[in-house]
Structures are given as C-alpha cells and as structure tokens.
Symmetry: C2
Subunit: 439 residues, 2 copies
C-alpha cells in the first residue's frame, strides 16, 4: 500500500527542511534581538475559541473534530486566538508591555493555491499592554529588520501602512453610520485585488449616495506623504480626526528615526479584511511578480475582551513561510544549504581493526566537543573513504594510522587547500581547525 | 467567555517555552554533530497509514477526522509511519546510509498521566539502509551523547540493551512456535512493570509447559556481561543463535570503543512492546524516582515493506520531551533561563525629544547588527530607566546624552561591574562589550 502526504501539505526532506530552518532561524534571531520572548500553545483549541473571534463562517475553513469527551476541537488556523486566550488568563501577572513572538504550525482546510497551503508556519509578533504608537512602530520595524536580515532591499519589498482609525474618522465626518463601517472596510480591502472598473462596481453595491461613493474612490488613492496631507485636509477641524492624522504622521517619523523609512509607504488602499483592527494597519509586498502580502497586521483594541479578558490593546503581525519562501526564490536569496561535515575520520589501513577502534573513539570525542564528525561504516581503502569525506563536504580529514597507535599522532588534511600535516591527537581534538603548514 | 488549553496539552508561556527550547536546542545540536539531517512531515496523515503500522487498535488513541474530501485523517501520534512513508517514496534516490532526525509535535488521545500528555514533542533518530550493527551502536551513542550533553552521568541514567533476535533464537531453540513469539514479547515486556509474583502469574496465562515457563522467568533475569555469557550457553551450538549472540557482544564492544560503555547495561528484561523490532532493542531509564523509559528504540527489519517500500532495514529511537523535562527537574539540571537583554539604551534627559530619536536609531542599529537591544517606551527619569534595564537583565546600558548630539559619544555602563565610561558611538556599535576602564 502506497501513501502520500495529505493534499496541500508538505513533506520536508532534508533539503526542504534546511530551507524551512533557514527562514525560521532568522525569524527567531530577529525576534530575540528586538526583545521579544517566544511562546506557543497547543496545536488544537476548542472550536468555540475560533468562532468567538471570527464568526461561524470560520468553521468550514478548519480541520475540526470531537475529542473523546465529545468536545468540539479544531487545529489552529492562526495564532491570535491562542495568544488572546493565554494573555487574558494571566493579564494582571504579566509584565507590560508584553512583547511575545511565536512561529506556530497552522492548518487551514481551504483549497491549496500559490502562496496558500493547507499547512504552513507563520511568524507572529505582538506587543500588548502599550497604547502608544511607539509599539506599532516597533512591530513594523521588526518586520523590516527581518526583510533586511534576509537581504531584501527597499527596491524589492515595500511596507504599506494605513490607519483604520483615520479612515473611521473620515467616514464618520462624512456621514457613514457606524454599523456600515465593517462593510466599507471589506469593500476597500478589495481595491488592490480588482481592476478599477470592477472596484467601482463593487463600491456601487454598497448603495451609498454619489458623494460618499466618490469619497471612497478618492480615499483608496491616497498614497505617500501627499496622501497624509490629503487626509489632514479631509478631517478638517475635527479634533479626533486631527489626533489620528497626527498619530499617523508620528508613526512615519518614528520609523524614519529607526532607519527604515525607505521601506515604508503610506497607502490608504491597505485596509485589512479582519474586523478587529482599530488603529494603524500594514501589509508588506514584494515588488516583483509576487502579488500576495508577505506580512500583515495592525493595532487591535478589543481582541482580549472577546475571549473574556481585560480591555488591553495590542498590535502585531503574521507572516507565512510559504510566501517568504516564494520571495526568496524570486530574488534568489537562499544560499547553498548543503550539509557540511566538519571532520571526517579515516583509517589508513582497513585491515587493522585496532585503527578502526581509534576512528570510533576520536569521532565520539569530537562529537562530545560539539564538532560535527563522521566516518565510513565500511572498512574500505583510503581512496574510497576520502571520496566519502568529499561527498559529505568535509572541511578536514583526520587519518588514523600506525603512528596514532605508537605516538598518538594523526595526519590532518584540509579539504579546501589540500594541505596535510601530522599533528598530536590531543592538539587536534582541542582545535581541529588550526592552521596547517605544507610539508 | 473564558477558554482554557485543551486537556492534557500545554500552554508555553515564555518561561515554559525557554525550557522546551533548551531541550530542543540540545536535540538539534547533538543530532547535527552526529551527522544526522533533519526532516519533518505534515502534522496529519491518512488514518490508514497508522492502521497499517499498528493495527485497528491504534484508532481509538488518535485524534482523527474526515477532511473536506471525506478522507479519514489523523494527527500523528508518532513519527515512524511518516518516516517510513517518506523514505519508501524515495528509497532508491536517497544516499545510504540515511541518517535522519526529527523533533515532531505529536498528539495522542489517551488519558493524560505523569510523563504522558496528549500533546508532546519527541526526538527521533533513525539510520536506514545499513544492516551492520555499527548503525545500532551509533544510534545508542547519539542518545547517550545527548544525556552527557545535558549533564546526566552514568550514576543518573542507564541505557538498557537487549536483543529481539537473540531472544527469538533462544525461544525457537526451546520449541516456541513462531506465531507465539509476539504474545511472549508482550508478556516479557511487562516484567519490570510488575511485582515478581504478578509477573509469574502473567507467564502462567501464556499456557506453555513448565520448562518453557521456567525459561521465560530465567531469561528476564539475564543482566550484565554474565547475562550475555548465559545467553551464549543457552544458544549452544545453534549457528544462527551463536551469530546473534556474537553480534550483541560486538555491539557492546563498539559502545566501549565510543567511550560510552559506563552508560550501557545488557538487560534481557528490555523487550519493547512493539511488534516490528527484529534486532537489538534498547531503553534508557533515570536511576532516580522516575520509572518511565526516557528513550526507547531498536532495529526494525520490515517496516518499510508495510507501507509499500523496499525491504530496507533501519534502526532508531524516540524520546519525549515530557520525560526529559521530568528528569531535568529531578536532577536539577536546568539552568536559569531568564531572558537577557544585551544592551539597554537610555536617554539622559527625557524632556529632550532629540535624545530619544538617537535612542531609537542606536537601538535599531544594534539590532541590525544582531545585538539584543531594548529601550523604555516611557520618557521618564534616568533612574526609572535604569531600573527597567535591571529588570530586563541588561548586560550593558548605553546613555544617550548632550555629548551624543555634539560629539557622537555615549556613556556605557557595565551592569555587572558598575563601571561606566564615555566612548565614541561608532566604537560602541562595533563592539558593545569591549572592556571598560574605571574613570
């Protein structure tokens, strides 16, 4: 009977695993150097947790099932509900601001397509318990710090930033009812995914008066510093509107101070589909052929309350490994990840079993000292063993020979330069990569 | 609405996550230095894959469900079926021996108890495509290399090693029918979990003649070098039996050559419950109060064939993070894992916004250079900022002051020694931990 990986899910053979780890290691190191602490939750949660956050519609997108006690469970499709649950449970005890990151495995029971698989990993960065827009700036900085870390320039990637609260103020000033906002957000969010005529048609379906229609079309075009100026004019003398525009300007100032201004662009076309955003929102895009957002997030004000927690605001983003991997491929940024053997240990005379005993003990001792060491499982000629060392990208070869038994010396060969030198075994164990001198 | 983590599953708040990572990092580094490459598969597989390996009885221990196409899926309870599937699919293309490791997240729908949770992580080490007992020795060495790495001595942990093939030969020589072996293995496997009288009673339920009963009781007592000598006597002149005993002796010789002999003990009481083992089997135990095996594995001959693969033999083991964590706790081996901030950046005058701009740019630049750097979100007095630096275990504090704006110098304070010195900013960015001289 032959089996395959489930549809839309990946097998990670060592070469694919190395690529996944390359991304993950950078997620970890960028998170840590920005002062975030890692957390994680279980692979599954109560189905109701996802219902509470996203509504009944989410259920058909989940792998869900009853556990043995009959409780409805689901494999997590995102990390935010777990984050909200965990923070809500210890909201008072946790030191603020809470700066947490996670790299969860997630599953969605949706049709697999480019950039979206049924199983993926997602980098999550969140700051909770800090209302100042400095926290928003910090989250956006972390995403860009990662882009820089993997070699993406402002010519290859752009962080588009907008503000739900500015948008809400302008809509309010222009007579949109509070209860219409969610539908308006959902419509505006589709702007960049549609042709202009299609977007105009979609706007019409909202059934708002002509001037409001024109406003929505105009809003979607606000971009760059002039776009922010335009927003300033649109809020006029409205105090709350003015404060929100000032906040947005401050966000760009902070990002400039942090040295990542060239990556950032104000773009009112970024709205984000989710209902729970209440402040700045942002999405990063590759500037090449890749259309999908490579990172997206924003400020959420009420999330914790939906899971029974206190009224604590947060800001964060998620970024999937699938789109990052596509981007790395597109810009050819992934280095050669072939495994390297630091030291390969060889016996000079495969007919002498005593030499092989020393091969084993030297290899074991190197490993104990945290050096990646290997040897051949076959007692075969030195040429074949050297070939094996070569196949495994060995940096150095240690040759166990007669002199090893009599004088405790070995020959060490550098596989890069070809230089070979006899050395005391103890010295080699202490520093297997010491400079070698040609004979 | 309040939500909790699912029963028998863990939330990893940062302190628990740090402990999990401490174990995982050591699993990774020990695997890599022993020449293993990492692989992974999806969190779920077709339910039939687990049925094929373990029989219908496994189904009730799994979280399983129908996907949208109606296919029966299950969250993986172990890694071996996925390993077998992946290796079988590329059996010819993969370079032998295949040395792979993985640290999968696994779930079992069983009653949670000490050492066994419904969700856990398991270190998996496997060598496939190498029949020589050297591969068995290497797997056992890797487990012990890990024990040494986390600080466990031969006084704290023992690797008990036995052999299914020696056992099979002795049973065959003594007239046990082939089809009885599985029931005998399952019975012998319970020996160390039962009181002697209970074990005797269990043996009786096998319904074998008195001499065979005596043999089974005697076998379970074979331990240490004398135990192997006893086996040698029991196989007598039987050629296959002799070869298997020789192999077992060679295994101990190899482990001795590798320098881990003091951790190893021959113990015929180790049988392992699973049907598919065909050669050496082994289990490690803590010598303190912890009763459960902290690692278990062995040689499997036919596993790949059960999933449609070629007749390739393998050897491997698994070790769960739950029992390792219990052991670390018991022997007090986990170090302080509080997060450390390498550098904390402070502004000397919170009323001067220009200083804070430099705090932001210096912090951002340190992070870009992979230094963990933080600053206070609040513009507050220098004393409060120092307190925050202290709370976050800062090694060094950089003070941005008037001189930073005029001369590009900062004051650097070592939080360990208390020494503070003004330095050129560029020099500090290049090496934030350079030695400081008392004024």
């Amino acid at each position: 009977m032959k089996f395959k990986a489930p549809r839309g899910m990946r097998d990670y053979y060592p070469d694919a695993m190395a690529a996944r780890n390359w991304i993950m290691e950078r997620w970890h190191r960028v998170s840590l150097r920005n002062g975030f602490e890692e957390y994680d939750g279980p692979i599954m949660e109560e189905l109701d947790l996802f219902r509470v956050k996203s509504g009944e519609g989410i259920v058909s997108e989940l792998f869900h099932f009853a556990d043995r006690g009959g409780r409805e469970m689901a494999i997590r499709p995102e990390m935010t509900p777990t984050l909200a649950r965990m923070v809500a449970a210890r909201a008072n005890a946790l030191r603020k601001p809470i700066k947490w990151y996670s790299v969860p495995r997630l599953c969605r029971a949706e049709r697999p397509q480019r950039g979206r698989l049924r199983e993926f990993f997602q980098w999550n960065i969140d700051i909770l318990g800090e209302d100042d827009i400095l926290a928003d700036a910090e989250c956006i900085f972390v995403a860009i710090d990662f882009f820089r870390d993997i070699g993406l320039t402002p010519e290859q990637v752009v962080m588009k930033i907008s503000s739900r609260s500015v948008l809400a103020a302008i809509l309010r000033i222009n007579g949109f009812a509070e209860e219409r906002l969610e539908a308006v957000y959902a419509t505006l969010d589709k702007r960049d995914k549609l042709a202009p005529e299609e977007f105009s048609k979609l706007i019409e379906t909202l059934g708002v008066p002509e001037p409001q229609e024109q406003l929505l079309l105009k809003l979607g075009e606000a971009k760059g510093p002039e776009g922010i100026t335009m927003l300033g004019e649109m809020v006029g003398q409205d105090p709350e509107g003015n404060q929100e525009v000032d906040n947005l300007e401050r966000l760009f100032d902070l990002l400039g101070d942090m040295g990542v201004g060239p990556y950032c662009l104000f773009d009112m076309g970024v709205v984000r589909g989710l209902a729970y955003y209440t402040g700045p929102v942002f999405e990063a895009f590759g500037k090449g052929g890749l259309q999908r957002a490579i990172c997206g997030g924003g400020r959420y004000g009420e999330l914790l309350k939906t899971v029974g927690g206190p009224p604590m605001s947060g800001v964060g983003f998620g970024s999937s490994d699938v789109v990052i991997a596509d981007l790395l491929k597109e810009f050819n940024l992934l280095p050669d990840l072939s495994p390297v053997t630091a030291v390969f240990v060889i016996d000079a005379d495969p007919r002498n079993p005593t030499l092989f005993k020393r091969v084993l003990s030297i290899t074991a001792e190197l490993r104990r000292r945290n050096i990646t060491a290997s040897y051949s499982y076959r007692r075969q000629g030195i040429g074949k063993q050297f070939k094996q060392a070569n196949d495994r990208n060995a940096r150095r070869v240690i040759i166990v020979e007669e002199a090893t038994l009599t004088d405790n010396t070995v020959s060490v060969k550098d596989m890069g330069t070809g230089v070979q030198q006899p050395l005391a075994l103890e010295a080699v164990l202490d520093d297997p990569f010491q400079p070698l001198e040609p004979a």
